[in-house]
């Protein structure tokens, strides 16, 4: 059993200059075979491993990651967490996730720095306003906290926003989810990894999966850089590489990958204590505990796996940020980077069985799957353990693109992150 993190362990380790902390998880060599092999050590894969062990007692599990834990989109996102989605199916799934977030630091004994500082979505036009009203009503019917703010209330909630007349992006109102907020991106990967490891899950890094052994329509093993590993079941959680691995397994997905960028500024004193999102102008902003402004941009339009995007995209975002928050005009940006986001035509994820028996897919979360990490892992673990989806993810099947039962969150305002 691993020692728990606590104020006492912190003090004890301070005495030895923090040089004596034990490793947070083991790094074993892969065993020849596992009941479940999870491909992808981002938040979703690691959460899945944790819930498989904890909720379903399946502990003979490996998480296989090509690089390092959380090195994909998990470690590259702007960490906005909310559940105010339009459609019932999404609202229930994301709300389940938000509820898990609320107890996660305690459950994992790992500070995921979940901060429910409130997420505000701005409306800049009459059309935005109507969509906002519709979404707020839908949220409330689904038990998701959501309220409307007048421009005056927007200003009270976020005093640094510029609402003087004549701005390029007038603010006509906003929706507010007070239970929404941000969290620490790496912590969710590391916290789940540590907790899963403690339950017996093997975490194997620097080991790309390069192929599958499939016999009579059933997956038997994964081929990796560290050799063949037999698997009772194989669960994909590779986000930006979903199509690549699906192709290796012989099926296709309705997913396309785009570069999505984010950037951070130099650190400053606390200046903005909420999350402000504006879909219409592709600008998202919050401030990290370190003090840097964390800003999310829009996607580059073309298909891309380069994990970097074009400057015109960030320029457009920064122009909008400067328009809404003139006091940031002289801030310097320190770093920008990109991830590869896996988007579905209806902007909803796929958590589902696949045409290959014993193989499962969790992907297509696109630009907004950080918030869903706990919930996604939870329903995916259920799907793998029972070979059947949980009611919460039953609608997020791969065959919805055949039946036409799409969950169209695209036009549904608050989408994006």
């Amino acid at each position: 059993m691993k020692s728990r993190y606590s104020i006492f362990s912190l003090l004890r380790n301070a005495l030895s200059y923090h040089e004596g902390w034990p490793e947070a998880w083991r790094s074993p060599e892969p065993k020849p075979s596992y009941d479940v092999v999870i491909v992808g050590g981002g938040g979703h894969g690691l959460a899945t491993a944790y819930y498989l062990a904890k909720e379903h007692g399946i502990t003979n599990v490996a998480v296989i990651e090509r690089g390092w834990l959380g090195g994909g989109n998990t470690g590259r996102n702007t960490t906005i967490v909310r559940s105010n989605y339009l459609w019932d199916e999404s609202a229930h799934l994301y709300e389940h996730s938000l509820k898990l977030w609320e107890g996660l630091t305690r459950e994992l004994n790992y500070n995921v720095m979940f901060s429910q500082r409130g997420v505000m979505n701005l409306a800049h036009s009459q059309h935005d306003l109507r969509e906002l009203g519709r979404r707020i009503a839908a949220n409330r019917l689904n038990g998701v906290d959501s309220e409307f703010l007048t421009p005056r209330q927007v200003k009270q909630f976020c005093p640094i926003i510029d609402l003087r007349e004549g701005g390029r992006y007038p603010v006509l109102g906003a929706s507010l989810q007070r239970r929404g907020g941000t969290a620490r991106h790496d912590a969710i990967a590391w916290g789940y990894a540590r907790a899963a490891d403690a339950l017996g899950v093997d975490i194997i890094q620097e080991c790309p999966v390069e192929g599958f052994r499939i016999e009579k329509g059933r997956v038997r093993a994964v081929e990796t850089a560290k050799g063949t590993i037999e698997a009772g079941k194989v669960a994909l959680a590779v986000a930006g590489h979903s199509s690549v691995l699906a192709e290796l397994a012989g099926f296709r997905l309705p997913i396309v990958c785009h570069p999505l960028q984010a950037l951070v500024s130099e650190p400053v004193k606390p200046v903005i204590d909420c999350v402000v999102m504006s879909n219409a102008v592709h600008a998202y902003i919050s401030q990290s505990d370190k003090g840097d402004l964390v800003i999310g941009a829009g996607v580059d339009r073309y298909i891309g796996y380069s994990q970097r995007g074009g400057l015109p995209v960030t320029e457009e975002t920064l122009a909008a940020i400067c328009e809404l928050f003139p006091l940031f005009r002289r801030m310097r940006m320190m770093r920008c980077w990109g991830g590869t986001v896996d988007t579905c035509p209806d902007a909803s994820p796929i958590v589902s069985k696949t045409p290959v028996e014993g193989m499962y897919i969790n992907g297509g979360w696109g630009t907004g799957g950080f918030k869903s990490t706990p919930g996604s892992g939870w329903v995916y673990a259920h799907t793998i353990a029972h070979d059947e989806p949980h009611p919460l993810n039953a609608a997020f099947k791969l065959d919805r693109f055949t039946t036409g039962y799409l969950i169209d969150e695209h036009g549904a305002a608050a989408v994006a992150h």
Binding site: S243, V244, P254, I255, R301
Partner: protein
């Protein structure tokens, strides 16, 4: 930012172009004969290659003509451009896992 060689105007900045997605997708010849699965395939199961991808661009703020390009989606190298309706050039296959 990409530098895209328009076959008609030469190399121009990406911001002059709009993206048209995967190239060479054939419209179903007999739509009324198509089953749900085939429709899903046509509408949604588009290419998402990590490697050399054949795609369409239009030079919106230039000659306004459409053309095809072969681009490596990992390195962003544009390996070839060719006209609409043209056959894709023979290129060395690149694919990455």
């Amino acid at each position: 930012m990409l530098l895209i060689p328009c076959p008609y105007c030469g190399p121009r900045e990406e911001t002059e172009f709009s993206y048209g997605g995967e190239a060479h997708i054939e419209r179903p010849k007999q739509p009324e004969a198509l089953g749900d699965e085939a429709w899903a395939d046509y509408l949604f199961m588009t290419g998402n290659t990590k490697g050399v991808f054949l795609e369409r661009w239009v030079h919106s703020h230039g000659c306004r003509r459409w053309f095809n390009a072969a681009r490596d989606t990992l390195t962003n190298e544009v390996l070839a451009v060719y006209e609409m309706g043209g056959k894709p050039p023979k290129l060395e296959k690149r694919s990455y896992v």
